[in-house]
Symmetry: C2
Subunit: 414 residues, 2 copies
C-alpha cells in the first residue's frame, strides 16, 4: 500500500466539485458533489443520536432501497437540516431530484448529507440555483477534489483529504480516496455501527454493498469512533463509501489488503478531524495497551482523549498525571491502579509520566521544566498507557481545550 497525495478523485471514474451557493452568509463554498461515472456500490454509517437530521433519515432509506446503483453524494454545509420535521425531508428530496437532473443521472441515485446549524430549513432556491455552476466546477481532477473538500467545511480551519493505492491479493491495483469535515460536535458513541462527522470515501475497487457495509462498520469503529473533540454527538454524522469497480473485475469483498487500505484512509481522515478540533493547538494520540478486552481498551483511550481536564492541562503544557489517572479510573475499563503506567512515547525516547500507579519521579508536584518544555514543543502528544491487565489494545485521537474553543462555540453561526 502506498499513501499518496490525493482525495476523492484519485480513484478512477470519480469527479468532484464545490461552489458557494449562498447558504453561508460568509460567501464561502457550501455545496459539494462527489460523482461516479458509473453505478457504484455504496455503504454508510450514521449517528446513533435519536434526534437525526433529514439527510440521515433519507440517506439510510436510499441505501436500504438501492445500494448498488449510487451515482454520487450531494452535500450542503452551513445548515444541518435537523429539527426541520417532514418539510426537512421533502426539502432534501427536492434538492437531490434537482441535482440528479442537473447531473443527468437516474432519479434516486444521489445520497444526501448536510452539516451546520441545527434548526433552519434548507434555503432550497439558492442551492438549486447553484447546481449548474456546481456541475461546471466538477471535474475528475485534484482541483475538483479540493473544491469539494473545501465546500463541506464549517468551523474547520483546513480541508481533510487522504488517498492510498494498493494491490489486491491477486495483484490488481485499486485506489481509495476520501475527504472529511469535522471540527466541533464530535464525539465517539458506544454502539456500532455509527460514525461521527462527515466523511466520503471513493474507491475504484469492485465490491458488493453487503461486504462494503461490513468492512465500513468495523473500520469506522476503530477510527472515527475513536475521535473526540467535545463529547457532543451530532445529529448529522455520516460516513459514506462508494465503490464503482472502475479499476477492474477483481472482487475486493474479502481482500485483507482492501480492508487495510480503507482503514488507512479512514484513520488519516479521523486524525485530521481531531487535529483540527475547534480551537485545537495540539493533537492528542492515546494508545492503550494491556487491556482485558478491546472494549476496555477503547473505553480507557476514549476517556482520556475526552476528559475536559486532561484537554485543558494539555493546552497549558501541564503534565497533570492525576487527571489522566482519574479519567482512566472513571472510564469503566477494568484496571488495577497499582499496575498503571503512562508515558509520552517518541522516536527519541520515552518520557514516563506514571509508573506502577505512582507519578514518575519528579512529577509529584507538577513536574520538571523539562516535561513542560517538551509538551509545549510537541504539536502531537503521543500518550502510551499500559494497563498491564491483558493483551488488548486501542488508539483514540483528540485535541486540547483552548480559549478559542470557547470563543468559537459561545457564538457559532456559520
Amino acid at each position: 500500500m502506498w499513501t499518496i497525495a490525493g482525495g476523492v478523485t484519485t480513484p478512477l471514474g470519480f469527479s468532484a466539485g464545490g461552489v458557494a451557493s449562498g447558504v453561508k452568509r460568509s460567501g464561502r463554498p457550501d455545496l459539494a458533489v462527489l460523482l461516479s461515472d458509473r453505478p457504484a456500490a455504496a455503504a454508510g454509517v450514521f449517528t446513533t443520536n435519536v434526534v437525526r437530521a433529514a439527510p440521515v433519515l433519507l440517506g439510510e432509506e436510499i441505501l436500504r432501497r438501492a445500494p448498488e446503483g449510487v451515482r454520487g453524494i450531494v452535500a450542503v454545509s452551513g445548515v444541518a437540516n435537523a429539527l426541520t420535521g417532514p418539510e426537512g425531508i421533502s426539502d432534501n428530496r427536492s434538492l437531490l431530484a434537482s441535482a440528479e437532473s442537473a447531473f443527468e443521472v437516474p432519479a434516486g441515485s444521489f445520497l444526501p448529507a448536510c452539516t451546520g446549524v441545527i434548526g433552519p430549513r434548507l434555503p432550497l432556491d439558492r442551492v438549486v440555483a447553484a447546481l449548474p455552476a456546481l456541475r461546471g466546477a466538477t471535474g475528475a481532477t485534484r482541483e475538483g477534489a479540493e473544491r469539494a473538500a473545501h465546500a463541506i467545511l464549517t468551523t474547520d480551519t483546513r480541508s481533510k483529504e487522504a488517498a492510498v493505492r494498493l494491490r489486491l491479493t491477486d495483484g490488481q491495483v485499486v485506489r481509495i480516496g476520501g475527504m472529511a469535515k469535522g471540527s466541533g460536535m464530535i464525539a465517539p458513541r458506544l454502539a456500532p455501527p455509527h460514525a461521527t462527522t462527515l466523511a466520503f470515501v471513493a474507491t475504484d475497487a469492485r465490491i458488493s454493498p453487503a461486504a462494503l457495509g461490513r468492512i465500513l462498520a468495523r473500520e469506522a469503529d476503530a477510527t472515527f469512533n475513536m475521535v473526540s473533540v467535545d463529547g457532543d454527538t451530532s445529529t448529522n454524522d455520516t460516513v459514506y463509501v462508494l465503490a464503482n469497480g472502475a479499476a477492474g473485475p477483481t472482487p475486493a469483498d474479502d481482500d485483507p489488503n482492501f480492508r487495510a487500505g480503507l482503514r488507512a484512509v479512514l484513520e488519516s481522515l479521523a486524525r485530521q478531524v481531531a487535529r483540527d478540533g475547534e480551537g485545537a493547538t495540539k493533537l492528542l494520540t492515546v494508545r492503550v495497551e494491556g487491556a482485558r478486552s478491546v472494549a476496555d481498551a477503547r473505553a480507557a483511550a476514549r476517556a482520556v482523549v475526552g476528559s475536559t481536564l486532561v484537554k485543558a492541562a494539555l493546552f497549558g503544557a501541564d503534565p497533570n498525571v492525576g487527571r489522566i489517572a482519574a479519567a482512566l479510573g472513571y472510564s469503566g475499563a477494568r484496571l488495577t491502579p497499582d499496575h498503571l503506567s503512562v508515558a509520552i512515547t517518541r522516536p527519541r525516547g520515552t518520557v514516563p509520566l506514571i509508573v506502577d500507579g505512582r507519578p514518575a519521579p519528579g512529577l509529584e508536584n507538577g513536574g520538571g521544566k523539562r516535561v513542560r518544555d517538551l509538551l509545549r514543543q510537541l504539536d502531537e502528544v503521543p500518550l502510551e498507557i499500559r494497563l498491564n491487565e491483558g493483551r488488548a489494545a486501542a488508539v483514540a485521537w483528540g485535541c486540547d481545550l483552548s480559549y478559542a474553543y470557547v470563543q468559537i462555540n459561545a457564538a457559532y453561526r456559520t
Copy 2:
C-alpha cells in the same frame, strides 16, 4: 422546615474550625475540622472512580468498622492524597491519630477527607504542626463553621453552607447544617451510591447509621449526583453525614420530615457547587418532565447540563436550541423528537425554545434579540424540558463554559 442562615455548627453539639497549615503555597486556609461533643452515627458516599484517593479508602474502612462512634472529620485541601500508594494511607492514618490526640477524642473516631492536586504526598509535618492552632480556632459558632467552610476550598470562589431547622413528626425540633467544596473535576456518575465533590453535613437528630446510610444514598443521588461542572469524576469525592442525637431522643430513622430536611441541605449545597463551577458565569438548572422513568429523566437532564456545546452557547447567551436537542438525542433517554418541548421558565412567564420538536418561531436562525438579551441578563437559566413520553421527572444543575474555565485548568496548582 425553615431554611436558616447557618452551617455545620447550627446543630447542637457540633463545633468547627479551619486554619492555614502551609499545604497551600498561597497561605490560604487548608486544614479543617468538624467536631461532635459526643459520639455520632455516621454515613458516607464516595466516588465510583476506580482510582481512589487514600482518604476515600480509609474513610470507607472506618465507616465499616465503627459507624456509631464517630467524633468528627479532618479535611485537608491543597493535596488529594491520591496516586500515593500505601504511603498515602499511612500518612492519612498518622494525621488522624495526631488529630485525635490533639482534640482528645478516642483513637479511630475521626474520618478523613482530602481535595487538591493528585500526586503529591501529604506534607505531614506541616499539617500535624498546625493541629494545636486548629484546636484553638475551633468553636461551636458561626465563625467556626465559616472558618471550616473556607478551609476546604480549592479553586472555589466562595464557601458553601446551608442549614435547616425542622420538626420531626412527633414535634421534636432538630437541625441539619452542612458545608461543601467543589468547583472542578465534578461530574455525576451513574452507579449509586456515590457522590461528587466534598460535602460534610451535621445534624443533632438521633438516627441509626444504617438508616442514615440509606437516606444519604438516596438523597445524594437526587442532588450531588445531578451536578456536572466538567464531566470529570474525581478520585476524592466524599459526602459524610454525622448525626449526634443532641437534639433529643426521638429517632429520625423513618421520619419523612428528616429526609426532606437532609435533601434540602444537600440540594442547596449541590446548587452552590454548580453555581461556583470553575469559571462559571451562570447557573444552569434543567428540569426534565414527562420521561418514561426516573433513570430516563436523569439521563436527559444530565446530558444537557453536561454538554460542552450547550455550556459554551450559554456563556455566549446564544439560544442554540439545536445543541439542546442533540444532547437529549444522545442522552440515552427514550424520546420521540417530535414530542419534545423546551422552554425557559420564569415567574414572569415562559419563553419557548423548542415546540413539538421544532425551533420555536423566530429561533430557527439563532433567535431574536429578545431571547439573547434575556439569557444575557439571567444569572440562573432555568430550562424546562418536556419529553411527553411518561410521568417521571428529574432536575440537574450545571454551569456555562467560559474562558476562565480554560485558564484555571490550563495551569492548576493550588
